[in-house]
Symmetry: C2
Subunit: 283 residues, 2 copies
């Protein structure tokens, strides 16, 4: 596996690969890779000839009081996981290589970046949109694979690709969970003592919602109340949001009628903030 740290080198490498007729797959990550990332890399490998995995803890998508500094990093372990999963190139620039003196341009995804995650993390999706635009221009992928775990991010990137005509196929791959149901996340390492076990209420509440919908319940209000009860059982520090949105628009769903309702939630345990989501189908 090649390691590339310089933007211009990566651009030349991408250009050469394209000129040779290779299909490039990109998996952007912030590192501290787990089985969820590995599944994205394997998916990209299925869909392309050469997989570029980027590792970049992007400072512009963290708020001033967030965990940028303490975000977990383990480059040697990341290298091993990326290589084993099928990555051919690891692109891992320093922040100063990505954001040069005089950086000004903002990519603003519009209204959807101000709700849910964007409401709690005001400039988060601007940072995400810009860095993904940059990574597209640097690595020149034919296909890019993102995780459904960050559902709102995946929506915003698909919107940006459509709006700005990036010629990149965006693939969103399913959430990977621990055996007990906890969605994999680099931030799970923050969970202390009982928090790890308590955090299972996220996936449990989503499974419950899915079952209730399958048995014919269509009231968002009712299902949300039941989910809140389950979530409260995990003794959370706070429930940032629990929302039912249409998968195609991210607009709030009033009832569960269409097959494309997404339930998204963000909950804190101690100082650790976790997100999870599920698509529920009427059948």
């Amino acid at each position: 596996m090649e390691i590339v740290k310089v933007v211009a080198d990566m651009q030349r490498r991408g250009e050469t690969l394209r000129n040779q007729g290779s299909r490039i797959g990109l998996v952007p990550t912030m590192g501290y890779l787990h089985e969820g990332h590995a599944s994205l890399i394997r998916k990209a490998k299925e869909l392309s000839d050469v997989v570029v995995t980027s590792i970049f803890v992007n400072p512009t998508q963290f708020g001033p009081d967030e965990d940028f500094e303490r975000y977990p990093r383990d480059f040697e372990r990341d290298k091993a996981i990326a290589a084993k999963s099928g990555a051919d190139i690891l692109f891992c620039p320093e922040p100063a290589e990505m954001y040069q003196e005089g950086y000004r341009t903002v990519v603003e995804p519009g209204a959807v970046s101000t709700i849910l995650e964007g409401n709690i993390r005001p400039n988060h999706f601007r940072g995400v949109a810009a860095v993904v635009a940059k990574l597209f221009n640097i690595t020149k992928p034919h296909v890019a694979v993102f995780g459904q775990k960050d559902a709102q991010q995946a929506f915003i990137i698909q919107q940006m690709v459509r709006d700005l005509n990036f010629d990149v196929l965006v693939v969103v791959a399913p959430i990977v969970r621990e055996q007990d149901g906890l969605a994999m996340s680099s931030r799970n390492v923050y969970l202390k003592g009982d928090e790890r076990k308590n955090a299972l209420v996220l996936s449990r509440s989503l499974v419950h919602a899915g079952e209730r919908v399958k048995t014919g319940e269509t009231s968002v209000k009712k299902i949300k109340e039941e989910m809140l009860k389950i979530l409260s059982g995990g003794n959370p520090t706070s429930i940032d949001y629990i929302a039912f949105v249409h998968l195609k628009t991210f607009e709030e769903a009033q009832t569960i009628e269409s097959p494309d309702v997404l339930i998204v939630l963000a909950v804190r345990f101690g100082t650790t903030r976790l997100i999870d989501n599920a698509i529920v189908s009427v059948n």
Copy 2:
């Protein structure tokens, strides 16, 4: 010369050309081509194998009270000029092809988009930045040629290319003038009666400034006063701005010391708004 109207067709065409090893040059225009545009197309031809000229009167860069509807259009004449100047492909999409239902993403160039032209035309540079990003992603150029006539636009595009890592060489080509000095512009056709002759004060004031700097004058205040006197002689409806900025930063220049001071001005004659600029050198 090929005519392409569909985004996906243009993207495929650009991709095929790149795969064949052709170097693509892009000249984005709003049509109603004149000798200034022709010079950009010839420059692109020098620098590439296949020149794509786009003709798109971009609605998002016009304010609600501006001249989007009446902006001059003459497709048959444009075709002839583009072909004669060396364009190989004319990309001319309809607005609905460029801005699909649900378009949301904004590209905000930051502070420089709020001064001078951006102060008079509040969302102008957002519209410019987004449409140029789109045209880059659609036509896939190696090199793109813009006119120095729109100096602030050229600055903002170079900044966006740097910030978002577009792998495109941006070339800014000099202003082309009528024999009597008027900078060529599609909007010159709006000038009525004496306005055409009066408008010569723009270029005259810039020539005067250049001469004053050559003879050793370094006071921005003094030169600006002299320019204002010349401009007033043209009986303008208003002088929107006259500003001395550093070419590399677009920050206001207090004195003319460095070789890179740009004088930009915008003046109205009747309902017609003209811009012009010149770089002045101490020598």
